[in-house]
Amino acid sequence: MADIDLIDVDKHFGANWVIRKLNLRVDHGEFVVLLGPSGCGKTTTLRAVAGLEEIDSGEIRIDGKSVESLPASDRDIAFVFQLYSLYPHLTAFENIAFPLRAFRMSDKEVRGKVKAVAKVLRIEHLLSQKPSALAGGDMQRVTIGRALVRRPKAILMDEPIGALDAKMREEMRVELRRLHIENNSTTIYVTHDQIEAMSMADRIAIMNDGVLQQVGSPTEVYSRPANLFVAQFVGSPIMNVVDCRIEPADSATNIRLDGMQSVFRFGSDVHRHVAAVGHEEIALGVRPEAVLVERSDQAGYVPAKVHLIEPQGAYDILDIGVGKAVIRARTESQFVTRLHEPVWVQLDPERSHFFDKKSGFALPIGK
């Protein structure tokens, strides 16, 4: 196993920048997910590590050694694609054994290695099947088995479960995470699905327009997003982002959304931070679960109206009108049952974020 360093990596196709000054370190045994929308540069980054794509400047190091002059085949890295790319005429066993056949290895040794990998992937009972007889999830398990069997320095995966149905994807997320913990292989995993990233990664590296936006643990990127892009790309339903005015009050800060009669009261540090940074245009960000809803007036709560009720089964999402703004709140199922019902809301200051609308950066309030 190995660590991987990307240092000031640049890549462009003609005038289009695909990767800009990317710096990222993946530690030995770490599972890092590159997350971003299509076209953000995540797959190009992965391919550059694999040696399938040249970079224009910067450096990629595996175990401290620059791999610039090393062809893909000599980098000792396994690559798993979205499409299964199995040999259709070979059994699952032979597909997994295939990379080992290039080495002078006894049949017994090959069998041992294939069996060990199959056990971890829970496909021991499928080893004699041809790919055409396998379900999508099992085919992808075989593909992953083939990548793991020769114990490469690192495993790179490009949306490996993107083509599976929702239920299978969920199962595979759990399996891949377990597999990683058991094998401790250095892994870089590319996806556009934030739930995949959140549920599997040790750390998530979020990219947009070729630029790395934030690197952090799932909890970090979810609870302390560095900027508006990350705030709204991670989490479902999406974080509410609304314009607000920030007014200093005695030992407190009043936050007023557009058209609001009353105010949300926050600690005095909010306006001090805003004043210190000198930002004029501030957006407030708050996730639906941090919008607290009551059916009667409570201290610190402001009156609001329910526009829409969106049941999710285990809970409800309410679209709530506060002043002219609409924010979404997460409540217990059937907490509010009628549209236009008056409710009272409060924003949890601990879980509220303030962003500079021009740069998109989060202000370091309460951090």
Partner: protein, 367 residues
């Protein structure tokens, strides 16, 4: 606007029965969602209503009219597809005007202008009216496609997965917009999707389709909280419901084949006794939010996986090789393979007939 009635609709393609005597009442001004997996017959139903497909048997009523022999054009329904199907060289305005320009309609230019303006305002695309549709983003194109349906002021809107091509963020936004639009227009709307979250959040009622038949019709709460059979129970809700085959052994429920058991408190026991009569075999269903982690008692298992979803942690517990999912607060930290104990919230446990898959609590009622 009008109500819609389908009576014993049947349709097959060669050997394959797409619809099997399907009956359905959609109320005037209702937002009705047809939910089901690929091949369940959702799109066929929609096409029979629109007049694009002729059922072999059964009746389609729109309002007070039996429309089986009416052409699609005469049925006065508007269809919105997953593909936007706009004229790429036309401006948004021309696309919106197009359905009104038909000679059959004889609408004055002034009236056309007014209708287009009103639809554009409703959908917040007024600023795009003079732009060519191939210069629009996906979300804007789908708004225009919906606008083209609105201007016609049809008796019925039919939508076939209109949000499936959009990214997660846009989908969420358009979901709310569609619901608001529905309230504003007072439209009768039949919306087809395979996405249970879409169905739950948008539908006044949901019809769950399975193999050409309606498995259940009900409000989102009814479908989620009282699923009629195991198909509905596992198709609706994410993470999915935990299901196990079990036998009743005195006051204990014994789960087989890999064995674990739990007992029910008196209230749940008498509820079970009422529906089971002398039955000893059962299928037990428990939703992840009704699986609790407990310190003592309960059922012993080990942690198999943990997926951080930001707002909550989805944990998978291995109990005698049954993988049971539970929803926990986001701060829960348990190491993989660590021992845990779980308990089911007794009054939230569902009991199904393992043969018919029917929910024993609704046996004998109509779907």
């Amino acid at each position: 606007m009008a109500k819609l009635t389908l009576k014993n609709l049947s349709k097959s393609y060669g050997e394959i029965a797409a619809l099997r005597s399907l009956s359905l009442d959609v109320h005037d001004q209702e937002f009705f969602v047809l939910l089901g997996p690929t091949g369940a017959g959702k799109t066929t139903t929609l096409r029979c209503i629109a007049g694009l497909e002729k059922p072999e048997a059964g009746e389609v009523w729109i309002g007070e009219d039996l429309v089986n022999n009416w052409s699609a054009a005469n049925r006065d329904v508007a269809l919105v597809f997953q593909q936007y199907s706009l004229y790429p060289n036309y401006t948004v305005r021309k696309n919106l005007e197009f359905p009104l320009r038909s000679k059959l309609r004889r609408i004055t230019d002034e009236d056309i202008g007014l209708r287009v303006q009103k639809a554009a305002e409703t959908l917040r695309i007024s600023h795009l009216l003079d732009r060519r549709t191939d210069r629009l983003s996906g979300g804007e194109m789908q708004r225009v496609a919906i606008g083209r349906a609105i201007v016609r002021e049809p008796r019925l809107f039919l939508m076939d997965e209109p949000l499936s091509n959009l990214d997660a963020k846009l989908r969420e936004l358009l979901r709310s917009e569609l619901q608001e639009l529905h309230l504003k227009l007072g439209a009768t709307l039949v919306f087809v999707t395979h996405d249970q979250v879409e169905a739950m959040t948008m539908g006044d009622r949901i019809g769950v389709l399975c193999e050409g038949q309606l498995a259940q019709v009900g409000t989102p709460y009814e479908v989620y909280n009282m699923p009629r059979n195991t198909f509905v129970a596992s198709f609706v809700g994410t993470p999915p419901i935990n299901l196990f085959d079990a036998t009743i052994n005195d006051e204990k429920i014994v789960v087989a084949p890999e064995k674990f058991e739990f007992s029910l408190p008196p209230a749940a026991r008498s509820r079970l006794a009422k529906v089971t009569s002398d039955r000893t075999k059962l299928c037990v269903g428990v939703r992840p939010e009704h699986v609790k982690l407990v310190k003592t008692g309960g059922i012993a298992g080990t942690l198999y996986g943990a997926a951080d979803h930001g707002v909550e942690m989805i944990m998978t517990v291995n109990v005698a090789d049954h993988l049971i999912q539970t929803t926990q607060p986001p701060t829960t930290r348990i190491r993989l393979n660590e021992s845990v104990r779980i308990a089911f919230t007794p009054d939230k446990i569902h009991f199904f007939d393992p043969e018919t898959t029917e929910n024993l609590a609704c046996a004998g009622n109509d779907p």
